[in-house]
Amino acid sequence: MNTLFFTLHDFMVHTKGVTYLIMGGILVALPLFWWFLTERDDEN
């Protein structure tokens, strides 16, 4: 992760790319965690 960036543009392409991957992860993780959280709630 020690890539050297000389322009803000290159830096942003890189960091936003990582962020998009994280976002994908978040969208998968959140529903799973919600399911884990509420799975044992009694139906009533």
Binding site: F6, L8, H9, D10, I26
Partner: protein
């Protein structure tokens, strides 16, 4: 590579003057990170006061880039009577602006340090190379033309009349030549010394030195030093740039700085919106459940109550009925007794006696 065409002296002196001492064109990123562009990248300084409007640069550009010959020959200067802009097969144009004497300005891609076109492109078709040129990769381009919307200098052009493989076109700063260590075609062709290529940092210093040396010849502004975060092309002029159709209201914020805000809001929405919405959902569902429970409880109570009421009613009814029955019995008994008594009073008495 150094500065061509003009012997370059006094660079250090200009630096000492301090006017160019700041990092030229710095772009601030998130969290205060600063980027000052590729080190030692190249640029071109266009001294507008020296341009004679001969169109040699246009001609050279066409030659170097193998562009189709234009309708009017390059030595026909009548085209200068109208304002032109870059086009699909014209990467650079010289325009004349008339004030006390004619002023000629060359226009082409300014090769921004933080190119708006590159920032806008959603397939990374533009790249700011370490040499300084902003180059375009035809094999990726989708043709959305957002780069054209984004470019503050209105430079990229589009091949609108090609049906199958239209491209965005613009000046390449002769990137292949730069890589060979040569000068851009237009710079090489200029007979008047109005174009100087070299390292951008040194060019800025040189430009400021010119301004210092000839204050009556130039306005005190190196166009491109800070415009939109700085550009690799720089301009010196004898009169305000806005008089020659060059916008001075572009600001110094680079394109990626302009979009950093909304871009960084995106992941926040992804992180928090689902949490918030699920919360709202849970609350509304809970409310529904409570409402349902209350309803059920109310119904149950109502049932209990009505049952009790019914029972009470039944009870009273039964009591009443029993009473009635009793009284009826009593009455019947009484009647029977009376009847019996009326018929024959004796036996009853006898019975009683027994």
């Amino acid at each position: 590579m150094g500065i061509s065409r003009r012997k370059f002296i006094g660079c250090l002196g200009a630096l000492a003057l301090g006017q160019a001492a700041g990092v030229p064109g710095t772009a601030k990123g998130a969290a205060g990170k600063e980027f000052s562009g590729w080190p030692d990248s190249l640029g071109v300084l266009h001294d507008i006061t020296k341009c004679i409007g001969c169109r040699q640069c246009e001609s050279a550009c066409h030659r170097v880039n193998n562009l189709p010959a234009p309708e009017t020959a390059f030595d026909d200067l009548s085209v200068l009577d109208q304002k032109r802009r870059t086009d699909a097969d014209v990467f650079t144009v010289v325009n004349r602006f008339d004030s006390d004497r004619p002023v000629f300005v060359k226009t082409q891609c300014n090769h921004c340090l933080e190119p708006a076109c590159a920032s806008a492109c959603f397939v990374k078709a533009f790249e700011k190379t370490p040499e300084g040129a902003v180059v375009y990769d035809e094999s990726l381009c989708v043709g959305c033309r957002y780069c054209m919307v984004a470019c503050p200098f209105n430079i990229p052009a589009y091949e609108y009349h090609k049906a199958l493989d239209p491209r965005v076109t613009k000046c390449t700063l002769c990137h292949p030549l730069l890589k060979e260590g040569k000068r851009p075609g237009c710079v090489d062709a200029c007979p008047a010394g109005a174009l100087i290529s070299g390292k951008r940092d040194e060019l800025i210093a040189y430009a400021w030195q010119r301004i210092q040396t000839f204050p009556e010849r130039y306005v005190s502004h190196v166009y491109g030093e800070h415009e939109m975060g700085g550009t690799s092309w720089l301009y010196l002029s004898g009169q305000p740039f806005s008089r020659m159709g060059m916008r001075e209201d572009l600001g110094t914020k680079s394109a990626p700085e302009l979009t950093a805000g909304p871009l960084s809001a995106v992941p926040i929405v992804v992180g928090l919106w689902p949490v918030l919405l699920t919360g709202v959902y849970a609350i509304s569902k809970r409310k529904e459940k409570i409402a349902a429970q209350e309803k059920q409880a109310a119904v149950e109570q109502a049932v209990v109550q009505s049952r009790k009421q019914a029972q009470d009613q039944l009870e009273t009814l039964r009591k009443k009925w029993e009473q009635e029955k009793q009284s009826a019995i009593n009455f019947e008994v009484k009647k029977a007794l009376e009847e019996a008594a009326a018929k024959d009073p004796e036996p009853s008495q006898t019975k009683e006696d027994e």
